[in-house]
């Protein structure tokens, strides 16, 4: 298992390096100039390019960037004067992660429950009803659902704060809006996986042993249906914890989501690089964790991995 893990870690590091290199050069291909502005004098823009080393050849900029990266220096934002990229990530990520995890908790729990019920009531009205709810979660984009919820629960009913961050009640609406898409996905995945498991011989054996329905469902069907669900969770967790531009914007949440879009729009090179590397490293780490958990859930995978390493 140790060698298996070491192998995975080395691949993860190489992946992040390739990602950083590719992003750096692709970023430089984006047309435009981060300092181009109608408000700033042309002479000042020229000095700013010099100050940030953007007048140097791209290769020289790349070498300097890698050197700084190895020292853990991701640079300074070009647009948010006085703020380092590390600071922006350090302040924004916990907010997005908290919202994401809350949303994930809600959506996975709801999705699994819906999926189990759908499978148990296959092709009957509860199945149709829950699938309809789940599909609506995907069909209704957050940019539609968010303002509707904000208006009804915040403005009309005054049950929840309209926008903001910092208290648990401010997290309810954004977590639901952010998680509804995942609910739909989890419901469909759990339903399909469970239907597959329900036809397996070992389920028939369990029933033949005299286990009641609840025992069969909980001990055998649900547990064995979780493997594909866990597989999808790794990238899902990484994605949802990195924040959402739309949800964070409509509920005024000071997370990272906004920066993923704004940094590119503003051509804030250090921020684009910092966020990409951070997201890439986080995604790779989550996938690594999933590999480990996957192995724990299914001994066949663990064994095959061991053989491969040998």
């Amino acid at each position: 298992m140790g060698k298996y893990l070491l192998n995975k870690v080395l691949i993860a590091i190489a992946t992040v390096f390739v990602l950083a290199t590719a992003t750096f050069f692709l970023m430089k291909l984006i047309p435009g100039d981060p300092f181009a502005s109608l408000k700033t004098k042309a002479a000042v823009q020229e000095k700013q390019r010099e100050y940030y080393g953007l007048d140097q050849p791209v290769a020289a900029q790349y070498v300097r960037y890698l050197g700084n990266l190895l020292r853990g220096d991701l640079g300074w934002s070009l647009k948010k004067a006085g703020r380092s990229v590390v600071d922006i990530i350090r302040e924004g990520f916990p907010v997005s992660a908290r919202l994401g995890l809350t949303s994930l908790f809600f959506s996975v729990l709801t999705g699994l429950l819906f999926g189990i019920l759908c499978a148990q009531f296959r092709n009957r009205w509860p199945d149709y009803l829950l699938m309809l709810v789940a599909v609506l979660g995907i069909a209704l984009p957050s940019m539609v659902l968010g303002p509707l919820m904000r208006y009804f629960f915040g403005v009309r009913l005054k049950w929840l704060p309209v926008v903001g961050w910092g208290t648990p009640d401010k997290m309810i609406m954004p977590a639901i809006v952010l998680g509804l898409g995942t609910v739909a996905g989890e419901t469909r995945a759990m339903r399909a996986s469970m239907l597959g498991v329900m036809t397996q011989d070992y389920i028939t054996t369990a029933r033949a042993k005299g286990l009641n329905r609840a025992q069969v469902v909980l001990r055998h069907e649900v547990k064995n249906s979780l493997v594909p669900i866990v597989t999808g969770l790794g990238p899902g967790i990484a994605g949802i914890m990195m924040g959402s531009f739309v949800v964070e914007s409509m509920f005024l949440i000071p997370g990272l989501g906004r920066y993923f879009v704004d940094s590119i729009t503003n051509l804030d090179y250090p921020l684009i690089m910092g966020l990409t590397i951070f997201y890439g490293a986080f995604l790779v780490t989550m996938n690594l964790l999933v590999d480990v958990v996957y192995g724990l859930l299914d001994p066949r995978i663990r064994e095959s991995g061991r053989k491969k390493v040998k």
Binding site: L38, V44, Y51, K80, G82, G92, V163
Partner: protein, 554 residues
């Protein structure tokens, strides 16, 4: 006439009351009761918090770097400049106690009030702080966004051609500073925090790279100071205990919500989460008015929206036509500004000249109308025919003009409507080219456009230095692509006018020339309203549409 009441040894002597006197007494009693009732009614209260929201994080509060509305709003409350603008629009002493200016308006000497301090109540404000602010702004080794070159020799210093001792900023003594400008200047100039608000050198330098960020806030000397700035979430201003006029700050605090879009601001107002908002969209405005909020008179910010036109064109072929004044005039009158404002330019008022109502340049020449706000296809065709004759060309020779814009749906919709109007009213073919904001700005700066959908900011007292500057032959950028000696001469006459009256008179000629030659196709003025709860008073708009809520009571 008199009667007496005896009571345990005391003698009360009261006048006998006739009917008329009784009525008077009743009236007095009624008045007293009314007074009491009025006193019990809720009155406009001082103190408490004023809550407001803006669309962006300020990004920085470094006076030399701020360029967003949010930051400008905050600076208007925390940074006292040499002169300030009051609610009546007058320029009154701020940090300055008095000032003198030379006859030609180029040399300004300010005497700074003694005994002023920053928010800590200890660090004194002296001429050194203003000298340092100017020096720092113009430091080429650490370039600042707001660096400008109005002060004598400042551009030469920036380019390394002279030392700072040659620049027109002189500290005459501890409390006297003198500025010398290349062109005459006016009171409004000294309300700009980027150059004319004091900075304490030791404090700024201790902050280094992070000065002005949420981790190292500026030292305030205005009515408020920053208490807390949560990046991308909120900024809270509280009263500055060391401010020279403590009575000017009516509210205990100003709570600013950041990154709020227009629809979020409306929802927050409806839910009671905001006290004041600037609203542009007519539908959102109506929603708030229907809900009982009070709107101000229409006011115009300093933005002109429309089609920027490059006189030299994007290519030689398009430049051949766009450099012709009659061709530009044809485009200008072929567009129906009222139809555009009613459909794809909501929030803009159709314009009939460059300067917007409320600007000093407009007020100085209020009767001028350069064009109708509706389309005039017949006149447009006449202009086009005249242009073709001058150019020796036919309608088939006219190239497809490019309409560049930011890739937002709103901008694309606006250009689609313009495209239709140009096709129907003039027979001109155009193509829409949406691009990212940075690409759009780069193209604009390098002159790579024919017609570009965008806004332009004016300045006080007129649009010369911030906007019309780019139309000069020697503006230093290919942005507008004009080489018009007559325009250059009119521009020079305006900016070198020694008095404001003369400047505005000269500006009127410049504006007329600009409009009649359709050097840019301005289609609307950015109109907005201030919305408050009923009874809120005491806010006002300063130059450039900056809102000041120091005196707000609700």
């Amino acid at each position: 006439m008199f009667f007496t009441i005896r009571r345990t040894g005391c003698l009360f002597v009261l006048p006998a009351i006739n009917k008329e006197e009784k009525n008077v007494k009743k009236l007095i009693s009624l008045a007293l009761c009314l007074t009491l009732c009025l006193a019990l009614l809720p009155a406009a209260a001082e103190g408490g918090a004023v809550r407001i929201a803006f669309g962006y994080d300020p990004n920085t509060l470094d006076y030399a770097m701020t360029n967003l509305d949010t930051a400008n709003f905050i600076l208007a409350h925390i940074a006292e400049t040499l002169l300030m603008q009051n609610a009546d629009g007058e320029y009154v002493p701020g940090v300055a106690e008095s000032y003198e200016k030379s006859e030609d308006g180029r040399v300004w000497t300010f005497k700074i009030k003694e005994g002023l301090t920053y928010q800590d109540g200890q660090t004194p404000i002296t001429a050194e702080d203003l000298f340092y602010a100017a020096q720092r702004l113009l430091d080429p080794a650490a370039p600042k966004d707001n660096a400008s070159f109005g002060i004598l020799n400042s551009e030469a210093y920036y380019n390394g051609e002279v030392g700072f001792e040659e620049v027109g900023v002189k500290k005459l003594d501890e409390y006297t500073i003198e500025y010398t400008f290349t062109n005459p200047t006016y009171e409004s100039n000294f309300t700009s925090a980027s150059t004319y608000a004091p900075l304490e050198q030791a404090y700024v330098e201790a902050g280094g790279e992070i000065y002005g960020s949420s981790s190292y806030l500026p030292l305030a000397n205005g009515p408020y100071m920053v208490d807390e700035w949560l990046d991308d979430a909120s900024v809270t201003l509280v009263r500055n205990p060391a401010y020279q006029h403590p009575e000017a700050a009516k509210a205990d605090s100003i709570e600013i919500t950041l990154n709020a879009t227009a629809d979020v601001i409306v929802d927050m107002m409806l839910a009671g989460g905001l006290d004041i908002a600037s609203v542009q969209n007519p539908l959102q405005l109506q929603t708030l008015v229907d809900a009982g909020f009070v709107k101000s008179e229409e006011s115009f910010s300093s933005t002109y929206q429309g089609l920027n036109l490059r006189g030299a064109g994007r290519t030689e072929e398009t430049g051949r036509f766009l450099s012709n004044a009659n061709f530009r005039r044809a485009i200008n009158v072929a567009l129906d500004r009222e139809a555009l404002a009613a459909s794809v330019m909501t929030g803009y008022t159709p314009n009939w000249r460059l300067s917007a109502p409320g600007e000093p340049a407009y007020t100085a020449n209020p009767d001028y109308r350069a064009w109708d706000t509706t389309a005039n296809p017949a006149l447009a065709q006449q202009y086009l025919d005249a242009a073709l004759e001058e150019l020796g060309a036919t309608r088939e020779d006219i190239p497809v003009l490019q309409l560049m814009c930011y890739e937002s749906q709103g901008a694309i919709d606006a250009l689609a409507a313009i495209q239709d109007q140009l096709r129907v009213n003039l027979g001109l073919e155009t193509e829409i080219a949406p691009c990212t904001i940075q690409v759009m700005i780069s193209n604009a700066m390098s002159g790579n456009y024919d017609l570009w959908w965008g806004g332009n900011e004016a300045s006080v007292p007129d649009a010369c230095e911030s906007y019309l500057d780019g139309f000069r032959s020697n503006s230093g950028t290919p942005l507008r692509g004009y080489a018009d000696a007559e325009f250059d001469a009119l521009y020079e006459a305006a900016v070198s006018s020694p008095t404001l009256d003369e400047r505005l008179a000269n500006y009127a000629k410049l504006e007329q020339y600009f409009c009649e030659n359709a050097m840019c196709i301005i289609l609307g003025w950015d109109a907005h309203y201030i919305v408050t709860a009923e009874g809120a008073t005491g806010y006002y708009l300063m130059d450039g549409g900056r809102l000041n809520v120091s005196g707000l009571t609700k």
